[in-house]
Symmetry: C2
Subunit: 271 residues, 2 copies
DNA sequence: CGAACGGTTGACAAGGGTCAAGTTCGGTGG
DNA sequence: CCACCGAACTTGACCCTTGTCAACCGTTCG
Protein backbone atom coordinates (compact mmCIF):
# COMPACT_ATOMS: atom_id res chain seq x y z
CA UNK A 1 0.00 0.00 0.00
CA UNK A 2 2.07 2.90 -1.23
CA UNK A 3 1.38 6.05 0.67
CA UNK A 4 0.81 8.00 -2.51
CA UNK A 5 -2.09 5.80 -3.50
CA UNK A 6 -5.24 7.72 -4.18
CA UNK A 7 -7.49 4.75 -3.64
CA UNK A 8 -9.03 4.81 -0.21
CA UNK A 9 -7.92 1.61 1.44
CA UNK A 10 -10.75 0.45 3.66
CA UNK A 11 -8.46 -1.12 6.19
CA UNK A 12 -6.51 2.06 6.65
CA UNK A 13 -9.46 4.38 6.51
CA UNK A 14 -9.57 6.21 9.82
CA UNK A 15 -13.03 6.21 11.24
CA UNK A 16 -12.92 8.67 14.05
CA UNK A 17 -11.03 11.78 13.21
CA UNK A 18 -12.20 12.71 9.77
CA UNK A 19 -13.07 16.27 9.04
CA UNK A 20 -15.47 15.54 6.23
CA UNK A 21 -15.24 11.93 5.22
CA UNK A 22 -18.56 12.08 3.44
CA UNK A 23 -17.18 14.48 0.84
CA UNK A 24 -16.40 13.21 -2.60
CA UNK A 25 -12.87 13.96 -3.69
CA UNK A 26 -13.65 15.57 -6.96
CA UNK A 27 -15.33 18.92 -7.14
CA UNK A 28 -14.46 19.43 -3.52
CA UNK A 29 -11.77 21.59 -1.98
CA UNK A 30 -10.71 21.18 1.61
CA UNK A 31 -8.85 24.48 1.39
CA UNK A 32 -12.10 26.20 0.55
CA UNK A 33 -13.78 24.52 3.51
CA UNK A 34 -11.07 25.53 5.92
CA UNK A 35 -10.42 29.03 4.64
CA UNK A 36 -14.06 30.02 4.44
CA UNK A 37 -14.18 29.70 8.22
CA UNK A 38 -11.83 32.65 8.36
CA UNK A 39 -13.27 34.93 5.71
CA UNK A 40 -16.24 34.88 3.36
CA UNK A 41 -15.34 33.23 0.07
CA UNK A 42 -17.37 32.87 -3.08
CA UNK A 43 -17.61 30.28 -5.82
CA UNK A 44 -14.81 31.92 -7.64
CA UNK A 45 -12.35 31.32 -4.82
CA UNK A 46 -13.73 27.83 -4.41
CA UNK A 47 -12.83 27.06 -7.98
CA UNK A 48 -9.41 28.69 -7.63
CA UNK A 49 -8.60 26.71 -4.52
CA UNK A 50 -9.84 23.49 -6.06
CA UNK A 51 -7.51 23.96 -8.99
CA UNK A 52 -4.36 24.56 -7.01
CA UNK A 53 -4.60 21.76 -4.50
CA UNK A 54 -2.71 18.53 -5.16
CA UNK A 55 -3.89 14.96 -4.84
CA UNK A 56 -4.57 13.61 -1.38
CA UNK A 57 -1.87 11.46 0.12
CA UNK A 58 -2.29 8.74 2.70
CA UNK A 59 0.34 8.86 5.43
CA UNK A 60 1.30 6.52 8.22
CA UNK A 61 1.69 7.16 11.91
CA UNK A 62 5.14 8.48 12.66
CA UNK A 63 5.78 9.60 9.09
CA UNK A 64 7.59 12.90 8.56
CA UNK A 65 5.27 14.77 6.24
CA UNK A 66 7.17 18.04 6.07
CA UNK A 67 10.79 19.05 6.56
CA UNK A 68 13.52 20.90 4.73
CA UNK A 69 13.71 18.02 2.27
CA UNK A 70 10.06 17.05 2.06
CA UNK A 71 7.02 19.03 0.91
CA UNK A 72 9.21 22.04 1.27
CA UNK A 73 7.31 24.44 -0.94
CA UNK A 74 3.92 23.13 0.07
CA UNK A 75 1.18 23.88 2.45
CA UNK A 76 -0.58 20.76 3.69
CA UNK A 77 -4.21 20.52 4.65
CA UNK A 78 -4.92 17.74 7.09
CA UNK A 79 -8.01 15.85 6.03
CA UNK A 80 -7.63 12.97 8.48
CA UNK A 81 -5.36 12.34 11.39
CA UNK A 82 -3.36 14.31 13.93
CA UNK A 83 0.10 15.74 13.40
CA UNK A 84 2.63 17.76 15.36
CA UNK A 85 5.54 20.01 14.61
CA UNK A 86 8.81 19.15 16.28
CA UNK A 87 12.14 20.77 16.81
CA UNK A 88 15.30 18.85 17.57
CA UNK A 89 16.94 19.67 20.87
CA UNK A 90 20.68 19.66 21.35
CA UNK A 91 20.55 16.27 23.05
CA UNK A 92 18.99 14.89 19.93
CA UNK A 93 15.43 14.16 20.90
CA UNK A 94 12.37 15.84 19.52
CA UNK A 95 10.47 18.56 21.28
CA UNK A 96 6.84 18.84 20.22
CA UNK A 97 5.85 22.46 19.90
CA UNK A 98 2.56 22.43 18.04
CA UNK A 99 -0.39 20.21 17.31
CA UNK A 100 -2.43 19.94 14.12
CA UNK A 101 -5.90 18.46 13.88
CA UNK A 102 -8.13 17.51 10.96
CA UNK A 103 -9.09 20.73 9.22
CA UNK A 104 -5.84 22.50 10.04
CA UNK A 105 -3.44 23.89 7.48
CA UNK A 106 0.18 23.00 8.11
CA UNK A 107 3.06 25.20 7.05
CA UNK A 108 1.70 28.69 7.52
CA UNK A 109 4.19 29.55 10.21
CA UNK A 110 7.15 28.91 7.97
CA UNK A 111 5.48 30.25 4.86
CA UNK A 112 8.60 32.09 3.71
CA UNK A 113 11.22 29.68 5.08
CA UNK A 114 9.72 26.33 4.49
CA UNK A 115 10.86 23.49 6.68
CA UNK A 116 13.77 25.47 7.93
CA UNK A 117 13.04 24.82 11.58
CA UNK A 118 10.25 22.46 12.29
CA UNK A 119 9.56 18.97 11.13
CA UNK A 120 5.94 17.92 10.87
CA UNK A 121 5.28 14.37 11.99
CA UNK A 122 2.07 12.36 11.95
CA UNK A 123 0.86 11.28 15.37
CA UNK A 124 -1.72 8.99 13.78
CA UNK A 125 -2.27 7.66 10.31
CA UNK A 126 -4.04 10.17 8.12
CA UNK A 127 -4.72 11.85 4.83
CA UNK A 128 -3.13 15.10 3.74
CA UNK A 129 -3.70 17.38 0.77
CA UNK A 130 -0.76 19.45 -0.44
CA UNK A 131 -0.93 22.82 -2.15
CA UNK A 132 2.10 24.57 -3.66
CA UNK A 133 2.84 27.93 -2.17
CA UNK A 134 3.76 29.57 -5.44
CA UNK A 135 0.30 28.82 -6.78
CA UNK A 136 -1.24 30.19 -3.62
CA UNK A 137 0.85 33.32 -3.93
CA UNK A 138 -0.42 33.77 -7.43
CA UNK A 139 -4.00 33.19 -6.36
CA UNK A 140 -3.74 35.73 -3.54
CA UNK A 141 -2.44 38.43 -5.82
CA UNK A 142 -5.36 40.66 -6.61
CA UNK A 143 -7.81 38.61 -4.60
CA UNK A 144 -8.30 40.37 -1.31
CA UNK A 145 -10.82 37.82 -0.07
CA UNK A 146 -8.21 35.10 -0.31
CA UNK A 147 -5.60 37.28 1.36
CA UNK A 148 -7.91 37.84 4.29
CA UNK A 149 -8.83 34.20 4.51
CA UNK A 150 -5.19 33.12 4.64
CA UNK A 151 -4.27 35.85 7.07
CA UNK A 152 -7.28 34.81 9.12
CA UNK A 153 -6.25 31.16 9.14
CA UNK A 154 -2.71 32.07 10.11
CA UNK A 155 -3.89 34.37 12.89
CA UNK A 156 -6.32 31.74 14.12
CA UNK A 157 -3.40 29.37 14.64
CA UNK A 158 -1.37 32.12 16.19
CA UNK A 159 -4.14 32.84 18.66
CA UNK A 160 -4.46 29.20 19.56
CA UNK A 161 -0.77 29.23 20.31
CA UNK A 162 -1.27 32.30 22.49
CA UNK A 163 -3.94 30.33 24.36
CA UNK A 164 -1.51 27.49 24.91
CA UNK A 165 1.13 29.87 26.16
CA UNK A 166 -1.39 31.34 28.53
CA UNK A 167 -2.25 27.86 29.71
CA UNK A 168 1.36 26.88 30.31
CA UNK A 169 2.19 30.04 32.18
CA UNK A 170 -0.76 30.30 34.46
CA UNK A 171 -1.91 26.82 35.44
CA UNK A 172 -0.66 23.89 37.44
CA UNK A 173 -0.47 20.41 36.00
CA UNK A 174 -4.06 19.28 36.53
CA UNK A 175 -5.70 22.43 35.25
CA UNK A 176 -3.22 22.50 32.38
CA UNK A 177 -4.55 19.16 31.23
CA UNK A 178 -8.14 20.26 31.73
CA UNK A 179 -7.44 23.35 29.65
CA UNK A 180 -5.78 21.26 26.98
CA UNK A 181 -8.76 18.93 26.74
CA UNK A 182 -11.08 21.89 26.44
CA UNK A 183 -8.88 23.35 23.72
CA UNK A 184 -9.13 20.15 21.73
CA UNK A 185 -12.85 19.98 22.36
CA UNK A 186 -13.25 23.48 21.01
CA UNK A 187 -11.09 22.88 17.96
CA UNK A 188 -12.59 19.54 17.10
CA UNK A 189 -16.21 20.61 17.51
CA UNK A 190 -16.15 24.18 16.28
CA UNK A 191 -19.76 24.18 15.17
CA UNK A 192 -20.99 21.84 17.86
CA UNK A 193 -20.44 23.11 21.39
CA UNK A 194 -22.92 20.55 22.70
CA UNK A 195 -20.64 17.63 21.81
CA UNK A 196 -19.23 15.89 24.88
CA UNK A 197 -17.15 13.07 23.40
CA UNK A 198 -13.62 13.62 22.20
CA UNK A 199 -11.61 11.06 20.30
CA UNK A 200 -8.18 11.33 21.78
CA UNK A 201 -5.44 9.33 20.06
CA UNK A 202 -2.49 10.84 21.95
CA UNK A 203 -0.30 8.82 24.27
CA UNK A 204 0.31 10.25 27.70
CA UNK A 205 3.92 10.71 26.69
CA UNK A 206 2.88 13.04 23.85
CA UNK A 207 0.47 14.95 26.09
CA UNK A 208 3.32 15.41 28.52
CA UNK A 209 5.62 16.68 25.77
CA UNK A 210 2.99 19.19 24.70
CA UNK A 211 2.31 20.46 28.20
CA UNK A 212 5.80 20.31 29.62
CA UNK A 213 5.34 17.53 32.14
CA UNK A 214 6.21 13.86 32.51
CA UNK A 215 4.03 11.01 31.31
CA UNK A 216 3.87 9.80 34.89
CA UNK A 217 2.36 13.01 36.08
CA UNK A 218 -0.04 13.17 33.13
CA UNK A 219 -1.32 9.83 34.30
CA UNK A 220 -1.78 11.04 37.86
CA UNK A 221 -3.59 14.19 36.74
CA UNK A 222 -5.93 12.37 34.39
CA UNK A 223 -6.81 10.01 37.22
CA UNK A 224 -7.43 12.98 39.41
CA UNK A 225 -9.76 14.62 36.90
CA UNK A 226 -11.63 11.34 36.60
CA UNK A 227 -11.94 11.00 40.35
CA UNK A 228 -13.46 14.49 40.41
CA UNK A 229 -16.05 13.14 37.96
CA UNK A 230 -15.24 15.84 35.46
CA UNK A 231 -14.50 13.41 32.68
CA UNK A 232 -14.40 9.75 31.84
CA UNK A 233 -11.92 7.82 29.73
CA UNK A 234 -12.87 4.86 27.60
CA UNK A 235 -9.70 2.86 27.01
CA UNK A 236 -11.30 0.78 24.29
CA UNK A 237 -12.27 3.59 21.99
CA UNK A 238 -9.70 6.13 23.24
CA UNK A 239 -12.59 8.48 23.82
CA UNK A 240 -12.84 11.08 26.53
CA UNK A 241 -16.28 12.05 27.66
CA UNK A 242 -16.73 15.36 29.41
CA UNK A 243 -19.06 14.71 32.34
CA UNK A 244 -19.27 18.19 33.78
CA UNK A 245 -18.53 20.79 31.17
CA UNK A 246 -19.29 23.87 33.27
CA UNK A 247 -17.14 22.70 36.12
CA UNK A 248 -14.27 21.90 33.78
CA UNK A 249 -14.50 25.35 32.18
CA UNK A 250 -14.35 26.98 35.55
CA UNK A 251 -11.53 24.79 36.84
CA UNK A 252 -9.40 25.58 33.81
CA UNK A 253 -10.44 29.20 33.51
CA UNK A 254 -10.98 28.37 29.87
CA UNK A 255 -13.67 30.95 29.20
CA UNK A 256 -10.96 33.54 28.61
CA UNK A 257 -9.46 31.48 25.80
CA UNK A 258 -9.59 32.72 22.25
CA UNK A 259 -10.98 29.57 20.65
CA UNK A 260 -13.70 29.36 23.24
CA UNK A 261 -15.42 32.23 21.47
CA UNK A 262 -15.72 30.06 18.37
CA UNK A 263 -17.90 27.68 20.37
CA UNK A 264 -20.31 30.11 21.89
CA UNK A 265 -23.62 30.66 20.10
CA UNK A 266 -23.19 34.41 20.60
CA UNK A 267 -20.26 34.14 18.26
CA UNK A 268 -19.76 37.40 16.46
CA UNK A 269 -16.32 36.60 15.19
CA UNK A 270 -16.16 33.69 12.82
CA UNK A 271 -17.40 34.32 9.30
CA UNK B 1 1.92 66.48 29.39
CA UNK B 2 -0.98 65.01 27.49
CA UNK B 3 -0.11 61.67 25.99
CA UNK B 4 -1.41 62.74 22.61
CA UNK B 5 1.15 65.49 22.37
CA UNK B 6 3.25 65.26 19.28
CA UNK B 7 5.98 67.42 20.64
CA UNK B 8 8.91 65.38 21.83
CA UNK B 9 9.28 66.25 25.47
CA UNK B 10 12.94 66.10 26.28
CA UNK B 11 12.38 64.91 29.79
CA UNK B 12 10.30 61.99 28.58
CA UNK B 13 12.48 61.14 25.64
CA UNK B 14 13.60 57.56 26.14
CA UNK B 15 17.26 57.18 25.62
CA UNK B 16 17.85 53.50 25.54
CA UNK B 17 15.22 51.61 23.68
CA UNK B 18 14.70 53.58 20.55
CA UNK B 19 14.53 51.77 17.27
CA UNK B 20 15.67 54.65 15.14
CA UNK B 21 15.74 57.82 17.16
CA UNK B 22 17.95 59.54 14.65
CA UNK B 23 15.26 59.43 12.00
CA UNK B 24 13.38 62.56 11.18
CA UNK B 25 9.63 62.14 11.40
CA UNK B 26 8.72 63.40 8.02
CA UNK B 27 9.55 61.49 4.92
CA UNK B 28 10.17 58.46 7.07
CA UNK B 29 7.99 55.42 7.60
CA UNK B 30 8.56 53.04 10.45
CA UNK B 31 6.22 50.56 8.80
CA UNK B 32 8.49 50.50 5.79
CA UNK B 33 11.51 49.93 8.02
CA UNK B 34 9.87 47.09 9.86
CA UNK B 35 8.17 45.41 6.95
CA UNK B 36 11.15 45.49 4.65
CA UNK B 37 12.87 43.13 7.08
CA UNK B 38 10.31 40.54 6.08
CA UNK B 39 10.12 41.02 2.34
CA UNK B 40 11.80 43.23 -0.23
CA UNK B 41 9.94 46.50 -0.68
CA UNK B 42 10.54 49.27 -3.13
CA UNK B 43 10.10 53.03 -3.07
CA UNK B 44 6.54 52.67 -4.16
CA UNK B 45 5.61 50.68 -1.05
CA UNK B 46 7.62 53.08 1.03
CA UNK B 47 5.50 55.93 -0.19
CA UNK B 48 2.29 53.95 0.28
CA UNK B 49 3.20 53.04 3.85
CA UNK B 50 4.25 56.57 4.64
CA UNK B 51 0.87 57.86 3.52
CA UNK B 52 -1.23 55.51 5.56
CA UNK B 53 0.48 55.79 8.90
CA UNK B 54 -0.91 58.18 11.51
CA UNK B 55 0.93 60.66 13.67
CA UNK B 56 3.20 59.33 16.38
CA UNK B 57 1.78 59.34 19.86
CA UNK B 58 3.69 59.54 23.10
CA UNK B 59 2.42 57.10 25.72
CA UNK B 60 3.09 56.62 29.39
CA UNK B 61 4.16 53.56 31.31
CA UNK B 62 1.12 51.50 32.26
CA UNK B 63 -1.09 53.08 29.62
CA UNK B 64 -3.52 50.82 27.76
CA UNK B 65 -2.71 51.53 24.14
CA UNK B 66 -5.06 49.02 22.55
CA UNK B 67 -8.28 47.35 23.64
CA UNK B 68 -11.81 46.83 22.40
CA UNK B 69 -12.46 50.52 22.99
CA UNK B 70 -9.11 51.98 22.04
CA UNK B 71 -7.20 51.92 18.76
CA UNK B 72 -9.56 49.19 17.77
CA UNK B 73 -9.18 49.36 14.01
CA UNK B 74 -5.51 50.17 14.16
CA UNK B 75 -2.20 48.49 13.94
CA UNK B 76 0.42 50.11 16.11
CA UNK B 77 4.12 50.27 15.36
CA UNK B 78 6.24 50.66 18.44
CA UNK B 79 8.91 53.25 17.87
CA UNK B 80 10.08 53.51 21.45
CA UNK B 81 9.34 51.52 24.55
CA UNK B 82 8.25 48.05 25.53
CA UNK B 83 4.66 46.81 25.65
CA UNK B 84 2.84 43.61 26.46
CA UNK B 85 -0.46 42.02 25.63
CA UNK B 86 -2.55 40.91 28.58
CA UNK B 87 -5.59 38.83 29.15
CA UNK B 88 -7.79 39.10 32.22
CA UNK B 89 -8.06 35.95 34.29
CA UNK B 90 -11.20 34.94 36.13
CA UNK B 91 -9.79 36.19 39.43
CA UNK B 92 -9.41 39.61 37.89
CA UNK B 93 -5.69 40.04 37.51
CA UNK B 94 -3.82 40.37 34.27
CA UNK B 95 -1.88 37.58 32.64
CA UNK B 96 0.87 38.74 30.34
CA UNK B 97 1.00 36.62 27.25
CA UNK B 98 3.17 38.49 24.80
CA UNK B 99 5.92 41.07 24.69
CA UNK B 100 6.50 43.81 22.14
CA UNK B 101 9.76 45.63 21.60
CA UNK B 102 10.74 48.70 19.58
CA UNK B 103 10.31 47.81 15.94
CA UNK B 104 7.41 45.44 16.54
CA UNK B 105 3.99 45.82 15.05
CA UNK B 106 1.16 45.36 17.52
CA UNK B 107 -2.23 44.05 16.54
CA UNK B 108 -1.44 41.51 13.86
CA UNK B 109 -2.73 38.61 15.89
CA UNK B 110 -6.18 40.09 16.22
CA UNK B 111 -6.21 41.60 12.76
CA UNK B 112 -9.80 40.55 12.07
CA UNK B 113 -11.17 40.84 15.63
CA UNK B 114 -9.44 43.85 16.95
CA UNK B 115 -9.09 44.14 20.71
CA UNK B 116 -11.54 41.39 21.28
CA UNK B 117 -9.27 39.43 23.59
CA UNK B 118 -6.06 41.07 24.50
CA UNK B 119 -5.29 44.45 25.93
CA UNK B 120 -1.98 46.01 25.02
CA UNK B 121 -0.30 47.84 27.86
CA UNK B 122 2.91 49.83 27.91
CA UNK B 123 5.59 48.44 30.20
CA UNK B 124 7.66 51.58 29.77
CA UNK B 125 6.96 55.00 28.40
CA UNK B 126 7.22 55.11 24.65
CA UNK B 127 6.17 56.30 21.26
CA UNK B 128 3.72 54.51 18.99
CA UNK B 129 2.63 55.06 15.42
CA UNK B 130 -0.87 53.92 14.48
CA UNK B 131 -2.01 52.78 11.06
CA UNK B 132 -5.66 52.07 10.20
CA UNK B 133 -6.31 48.53 9.05
CA UNK B 134 -8.74 49.48 6.34
CA UNK B 135 -6.06 51.55 4.65
CA UNK B 136 -3.63 48.66 4.98
CA UNK B 137 -6.19 46.33 3.47
CA UNK B 138 -6.56 48.66 0.56
CA UNK B 139 -2.81 48.95 0.14
CA UNK B 140 -2.34 45.18 0.17
CA UNK B 141 -4.92 44.64 -2.52
CA UNK B 142 -3.03 44.12 -5.71
CA UNK B 143 0.37 44.59 -4.10
CA UNK B 144 1.83 41.17 -3.55
CA UNK B 145 5.04 42.57 -2.08
CA UNK B 146 3.10 44.18 0.72
CA UNK B 147 1.05 41.05 1.27
CA UNK B 148 4.21 39.04 1.70
CA UNK B 149 5.77 41.59 3.97
CA UNK B 150 2.75 41.62 6.27
CA UNK B 151 2.44 37.86 6.21
CA UNK B 152 6.15 37.70 6.93
CA UNK B 153 5.89 40.07 9.87
CA UNK B 154 2.96 38.12 11.27
CA UNK B 155 4.73 34.80 10.88
CA UNK B 156 7.88 36.23 12.42
CA UNK B 157 5.91 37.02 15.55
CA UNK B 158 4.23 33.67 15.42
CA UNK B 159 7.60 31.94 15.26
CA UNK B 160 8.89 33.93 18.17
CA UNK B 161 5.88 32.73 20.12
CA UNK B 162 6.70 29.17 19.10
CA UNK B 163 10.19 29.73 20.47
CA UNK B 164 8.76 30.93 23.75
CA UNK B 165 6.47 27.91 23.94
CA UNK B 166 9.44 25.70 23.31
CA UNK B 167 11.32 27.49 26.06
CA UNK B 168 8.50 27.12 28.58
CA UNK B 169 7.97 23.46 27.87
CA UNK B 170 11.50 22.24 27.85
CA UNK B 171 13.53 24.21 30.35
CA UNK B 172 13.76 24.67 34.08
CA UNK B 173 13.62 28.08 35.70
CA UNK B 174 17.25 29.12 35.31
CA UNK B 175 17.63 28.07 31.70
CA UNK B 176 14.22 29.57 30.95
CA UNK B 177 15.53 32.94 32.03
CA UNK B 178 18.76 32.45 30.11
CA UNK B 179 16.74 31.60 27.00
CA UNK B 180 14.53 34.61 27.53
CA UNK B 181 17.51 36.94 27.78
CA UNK B 182 18.93 35.47 24.61
CA UNK B 183 15.59 35.92 22.88
CA UNK B 184 15.58 39.60 23.80
CA UNK B 185 19.19 39.93 22.78
CA UNK B 186 18.37 38.49 19.38
CA UNK B 187 15.28 40.62 18.86
CA UNK B 188 16.88 43.84 20.05
CA UNK B 189 20.10 43.43 18.07
CA UNK B 190 18.90 41.77 14.88
CA UNK B 191 21.68 43.16 12.76
CA UNK B 192 24.30 43.16 15.48
CA UNK B 193 25.04 39.73 16.94
CA UNK B 194 28.22 41.09 18.47
CA UNK B 195 26.32 43.35 20.88
CA UNK B 196 26.63 42.21 24.49
CA UNK B 197 24.66 44.84 26.38
CA UNK B 198 20.91 44.65 26.72
CA UNK B 199 18.80 47.39 28.18
CA UNK B 200 16.28 45.58 30.27
CA UNK B 201 13.50 47.69 31.76
CA UNK B 202 11.35 44.81 33.05
CA UNK B 203 10.69 44.25 36.73
CA UNK B 204 11.31 40.76 38.05
CA UNK B 205 7.58 40.49 38.59
CA UNK B 206 6.94 40.99 34.88
CA UNK B 207 9.68 38.55 33.92
CA UNK B 208 8.04 36.05 36.22
CA UNK B 209 4.64 36.64 34.64
CA UNK B 210 6.09 36.09 31.19
CA UNK B 211 7.91 32.91 32.13
CA UNK B 212 5.41 31.39 34.51
CA UNK B 213 7.35 31.70 37.74
CA UNK B 214 7.38 33.88 40.83
CA UNK B 215 9.33 37.10 41.19
CA UNK B 216 11.18 35.52 44.11
CA UNK B 217 12.45 32.71 41.99
CA UNK B 218 13.35 35.05 39.14
CA UNK B 219 15.56 36.84 41.61
CA UNK B 220 17.21 33.60 42.71
CA UNK B 221 17.82 32.47 39.14
CA UNK B 222 19.28 35.80 38.03
CA UNK B 223 21.64 35.67 40.99
CA UNK B 224 22.57 32.17 40.00
CA UNK B 225 23.32 33.17 36.41
CA UNK B 226 25.43 35.99 37.71
CA UNK B 227 27.32 33.71 40.08
CA UNK B 228 28.08 31.49 37.08
CA UNK B 229 29.64 34.57 35.49
CA UNK B 230 27.42 34.25 32.47
CA UNK B 231 26.03 37.74 32.79
CA UNK B 232 26.25 40.89 34.84
CA UNK B 233 23.51 43.26 35.91
CA UNK B 234 23.99 46.98 36.29
CA UNK B 235 21.27 48.23 38.61
CA UNK B 236 21.93 51.85 37.76
CA UNK B 237 21.38 51.61 34.05
CA UNK B 238 19.16 48.54 34.10
CA UNK B 239 21.56 46.96 31.66
CA UNK B 240 22.43 43.31 31.39
CA UNK B 241 25.82 42.47 29.99
CA UNK B 242 26.35 39.02 28.57
CA UNK B 243 29.74 37.87 29.82
CA UNK B 244 29.92 34.46 28.20
CA UNK B 245 27.73 34.29 25.13
CA UNK B 246 28.73 30.83 23.96
CA UNK B 247 28.16 29.30 27.38
CA UNK B 248 24.80 30.99 27.68
CA UNK B 249 23.73 29.70 24.26
CA UNK B 250 24.69 26.20 25.21
CA UNK B 251 23.08 26.35 28.65
CA UNK B 252 19.78 27.51 27.17
CA UNK B 253 19.93 25.36 24.05
CA UNK B 254 19.09 28.54 22.25
CA UNK B 255 20.74 27.65 18.97
CA UNK B 256 17.60 25.79 17.92
CA UNK B 257 15.49 28.92 18.29
CA UNK B 258 13.97 30.53 15.25
CA UNK B 259 15.12 34.07 15.90
CA UNK B 260 18.66 32.91 16.48
CA UNK B 261 18.95 32.40 12.75
CA UNK B 262 18.36 36.11 12.28
CA UNK B 263 21.54 36.79 14.22
CA UNK B 264 23.90 34.46 12.47
CA UNK B 265 26.04 35.89 9.68
CA UNK B 266 25.19 32.88 7.54
CA UNK B 267 21.68 34.17 7.51
CA UNK B 268 19.91 33.01 4.39
CA UNK B 269 16.44 33.83 5.56
CA UNK B 270 15.81 37.48 6.22
CA UNK B 271 15.45 39.68 3.17
C1' DC C 1 9.70 62.16 56.54
C1' DG C 2 6.94 58.24 55.25
C1' DA C 3 4.68 55.48 51.53
C1' DA C 4 5.20 52.64 47.85
C1' DC C 5 7.69 49.79 44.99
C1' DG C 6 11.16 46.61 43.53
C1' DG C 7 14.65 43.62 44.86
C1' DT C 8 16.87 40.18 48.25
C1' DT C 9 17.08 36.55 51.56
C1' DG C 10 15.62 32.65 54.57
C1' DA C 11 12.61 28.95 56.40
C1' DC C 12 9.28 25.95 55.17
C1' DA C 13 5.88 23.36 52.30
C1' DA C 14 4.01 21.46 48.22
C1' DG C 15 3.97 20.20 43.49
C1' DG C 16 5.99 17.62 40.28
C1' DG C 17 10.21 14.79 38.63
C1' DT C 18 12.74 10.40 38.98
C1' DC C 19 13.18 5.70 39.40
C1' DA C 20 11.60 1.25 39.65
C1' DA C 21 8.30 -2.35 39.69
C1' DG C 22 4.02 -4.04 38.11
C1' DT C 23 -0.07 -4.26 35.01
C1' DT C 24 -2.70 -4.50 30.85
C1' DC C 25 -3.11 -5.38 26.14
C1' DG C 26 -2.35 -6.17 21.33
C1' DG C 27 0.73 -8.46 18.29
C1' DT C 28 3.86 -12.20 16.78
C1' DG C 29 5.61 -16.56 16.28
C1' DG C 30 6.03 -21.37 17.63
C1' DC D 1 -3.74 -22.26 21.41
C1' DC D 2 -0.22 -20.63 24.20
C1' DA D 3 4.18 -18.18 25.29
C1' DC D 4 6.52 -14.24 24.74
C1' DC D 5 7.37 -9.49 23.76
C1' DG D 6 7.07 -4.53 23.74
C1' DA D 7 4.35 -0.32 24.26
C1' DA D 8 1.53 2.28 27.06
C1' DC D 9 -0.32 2.96 31.39
C1' DT D 10 -0.34 2.71 36.67
C1' DT D 11 1.34 3.05 41.26
C1' DG D 12 4.46 3.90 45.17
C1' DA D 13 8.60 5.83 47.45
C1' DC D 14 11.72 9.36 47.52
C1' DC D 15 13.74 13.78 46.58
C1' DC D 16 14.52 18.17 44.21
C1' DT D 17 12.76 22.34 42.28
C1' DT D 18 9.86 25.90 42.92
C1' DG D 19 6.10 28.40 45.41
C1' DT D 20 4.72 30.68 49.73
C1' DC D 21 5.17 33.72 53.35
C1' DA D 22 7.56 36.97 55.77
C1' DA D 23 10.98 40.16 57.01
C1' DC D 24 14.22 43.44 55.47
C1' DC D 25 16.71 46.74 52.47
C1' DG D 26 17.36 50.50 49.08
C1' DT D 27 15.28 54.08 46.01
C1' DT D 28 12.10 57.10 44.50
C1' DC D 29 8.54 60.29 45.01
C1' DG D 30 5.01 62.99 47.11
Amino acid sequence: MPSSSLAVDEKLQPKHYTVSSSQAWFGYSIYFDILSQHGALSRHERETLRMLQGSPKRVRKGEVIKSDTCNNGMLLAIQDGWACSCRLTKDGDRQIIDLYLPGDIVGLRDYQQSGRFDEIIMLTEGLIIPAPKNKIDKAMEGNSKLIHAFLGAAMYQSNIMADRLNNLISHDATTRIAYFILELHARLHLGHPEARDIFFPLSQQVIGDLLGMTNVHVCRCLNHLESLELLHRDKETRNIKILNYEELLSLAGFSTAYIYSYLKPSNTIAH
